[in-house]
């Protein structure tokens, strides 16, 4: 379950270019290259979280719905990409399929179930989308079995890039960061500069008014939901090449995405971006630095476990701190 957390990416990374660097045998000195590598890892985790959180926060902002089953759409994307890539041999075909499959699953979910929940209270939404998680997880296990699938990094993106300071960094992870930046820019343009984005913003502000102005609000909702689902599916497909694709991979990602949007302010895409990068960096750097910091004060046998235990709680502590001062997040869209 904790496999999504960045610290554990490393142990499952089957394409680590420098295993001796990624899995140190003993305590290794803090070098600039290592620090940059960890910063990039944190950024990469943050970008993945942003892809999931953007849809989640958009759906909450526009429809006022809390969707626990968003992690299932992420899982759908990963499974679609892995199975298509396994049969056709093309990662890129798998990537396109994952977007389509997640968007289709999202639209189906919205039309069949979610649409009936907009007028309900949050408790009903939690219960119904919790039920959807059960249906999706068991359904996927039914279709694909309990064994994890594996997805190879496309040949173009295999290999590593030299870092300043002497280290190397996997090209694929850099590509993920680039995808995240592109998606963030794309979403910014979509929401801020297009007619669809204008309708989405109008829907956030006043849904009765925009319906009265003749916009088909039901179709808009389905579209927004499918868009959020496609982003989650994209995240699933991209992460699928870094870790095993299995049932239950969605929930840890979903919970981190919740932390992200709570920190950023629910409904705000900008908040989701800031929150995601913050969570990614704090989590990764905490896991990396805390044991080292504690080793200065504690004996080495204790510093490791204590540091790891505190580091795994760090983002939740961060969230509690932020909420203690700003109860509706950093960039609240609905206050």
């Amino acid at each position: 379950m904790a496999a999504f957390v960045s610290g554990q990416f490393r142990t499952q990374d089957r394409y680590a270019p420098l295993p001796e660097l990624l899995q140190p045998a003993g305590p290794i000195p803090l070098s600039l290259a290592l620090l940059i590598e960890q910063l990039l890892n944190g950024l990469q985790l943050g970008v993945m979280l942003f892809l999931i959180a953007a849809g989640l926060t958009l759906i909450f902002g526009v429809m006022g719905l809390i969707n626990l089953a968003h992690g299932s759409l992420y899982m759908v994307g990963a499974f679609a990409c892995a199975s298509v890539a396994a049969t056709t041999g093309s990662f890129w075909l798998g990537l396109v399929t994952s977007l389509a499959a997640a968007a289709a699953a999202g639209a189906l979910m919205e039309v069949a179930v979610i649409r009936r929940l907009y007028a309900r209270d949050h408790l009903d939404q939690v219960l119904a989308t919790f039920a959807l998680i059960l249906v999706f997880s068991e359904g996927t296990r039914w279709l694909f079995g309990s064994f994890p699938l594996y997805l190879d990094i496309p040949p173009v993106l295999q290999g590593a890039v030299a870092l300043p300071g002497g280290g190397q960094y996997p090209l694929y992870r850099l590509a993920i960061i680039a995808v995240g930046v592109l998606v963030a820019a794309g979403l910014y343009l979509l929401i801020g500069r297009t007619r669809l984005g204008m309708r989405i913003r109008a829907g956030e502000t006043d849904r009765e008014m925009i319906a009265a102005l003749g916009v088909d609000i039901r179709a808009l909702y389905t579209l927004v939901f499918a868009l959020g689902a496609a982003l989650a599916g994209l995240a699933g497909a991209l992460v699928g090449a870094l870790q095993s694709v299995q049932v239950g991979m969605g929930e840890p990602a979903l919970i981190l995405a919740f932390v992200v949007i709570v920190i950023g302010g629910i409904g705000s895409i900008k908040g989701a971006l800031v929150g995601a990068v913050l969570v990614g960096l704090v989590d990764t750097m905490g896991r990396f630095l805390l044991p080292k910091l504690l080793a200065l004060a504690l004996p080495a046998t204790q510093a490791g476990p204590v540091g790891a235990a505190i580091a795994s709680m760090l983002i939740y502590i961060l969230m509690a701190l932020i909420l203690a001062f700003r109860p509706s997040g950093l960039f609240s869209a609905r206050s």
Partner: protein, 324 residues
């Protein structure tokens, strides 16, 4: 409470011990354990029902208290078994009353700061923050190796209760059922008390409650802490029932299940948690016997409950409450 609800409540309260007794007479030990499982889960859900049903506080993190109670039992018993003192030179214990007391106090102490932070928020924020706090404790339990980490912790001998042979399934059931009755009595008293009225008011109209000079925040905080303490007691008993504690008791899935128990039975109803737990365990047992994929069908049933039977089982049996 309407006469029909009263009848349904009394029937449920009579059915469970009757089923356990029948299982004892027929020598079906497994079904006694199943009845005990229902009683423990019902107790946990009674706790959540205080916050969720009466106060309208959708806590998606009650597994934290359920698991903390469980770990209190596991850790104290392990330390007593190994004759190792705990922190601060305190000894472990296998006495169930002592363990229950520790579990309840611990959950109260943990729920207080969680409530202080979480209750500043409302709506979706509250749901997610309680979830995040529970995850925090979950990851702590996983990464803390001293008490089993991810593998969990076994309790070798069920803890002792003076005058009760807890190793015998039926005696343990009677003990758990008595505690469930006590918790239900507490819930009933709370609901009828001035505090209960204020709590209901904090759910229905917090502004008006504040205008009457009662702070909704402190009412909610007390309800949240009480709720956590009852769920924590259930956690300690659950650990004793299974003689095993693991981080799964702390997981978000468990929090979801607790909510499901309350809703399945009927939120805010006295017997709702018991009805929900009985239904849930029955699903688990019957569907789980038929297919490995029983959770798929559980999901469909839950969707049906959300869309067709909003009052849960008690709502179906006894009609809508006077004011929901």
């Amino acid at each position: 409470m309407s006469p029909r609800e009263k009848a349904a409540t009394l029937a449920l309260l009579a059915l469970l011990p009757a089923a356990a007794l029948a299982a004892l007479l027929l020598g079906e030990t497994f079904y006694i354990t199943l009845a005990t499982r229902i009683a423990v889960l019902a107790l946990a859900a009674v706790g959540l029902n205080i916050a969720l049903g009466l106060g309208g506080l959708v806590s998606f993190g009650h597994a934290a208290f359920f698991g903390l109670g469980g770990y209190a039992a596991g850790v104290l018993a392990t330390n007593a078994f190994n004759a190792e003192p705990l922190a601060f030179g305190l000894a472990g214990t296998t006495s169930m009353p002592a363990i229950s007391l520790v579990a309840v106090l611990l959950c109260g102490l943990v729920a207080l700061p969680i409530g202080l932070v979480s209750l500043r928020t409302s709506g979706v924020y509250f749901i997610m923050i309680t979830l995040a706090f529970a995850q925090m404790i979950y990851y702590f339990a996983i990464s803390w190796p001293a008490y089993g980490g991810e593998d969990g912790l076994s309790i070798y001998v069920r803890n002792a209760f003076p005058g009760v042979e807890t190793a015998k399934p039926f005696s343990f059931f009677v003990l758990v059922f008595a505690l469930l009755l006590a918790a239900l009595a507490l819930f009933h008293r709370l609901q009828a008390s001035r505090f209960g009225a204020a709590l209901e008011a904090s759910r229905q109209n917090p502004v008006r409650l504040a205008a009457l000079g009662i702070s909704p925040f402190s009412i909610r905080l007390v309800a949240f802490v009480l709720s956590a303490m009852v769920t924590g007691l259930a956690g300690a008993l659950f650990a004793d029932l299974n003689r095993f504690v693991s981080p799964s008791m702390l997981s978000w899935h468990m929090s979801g299940e607790l909510i499901v128990l309350v809703i399945l039975g009927g939120k805010g109803r006295l017997a709702g948690p018991l009805a929900g737990a009985a239904l849930y365990v029955a699903f688990e047992h019957v569907l789980g016997g038929l297919t490995e994929r029983w959770q798929f069908f559980l999901g469909l049933v839950l969707l049906a409950v959300v869309f067709l039977a909003r009052g849960g089982l008690i709502g179906l049996l006894a009609g809508r409450p006077r004011h929901g």
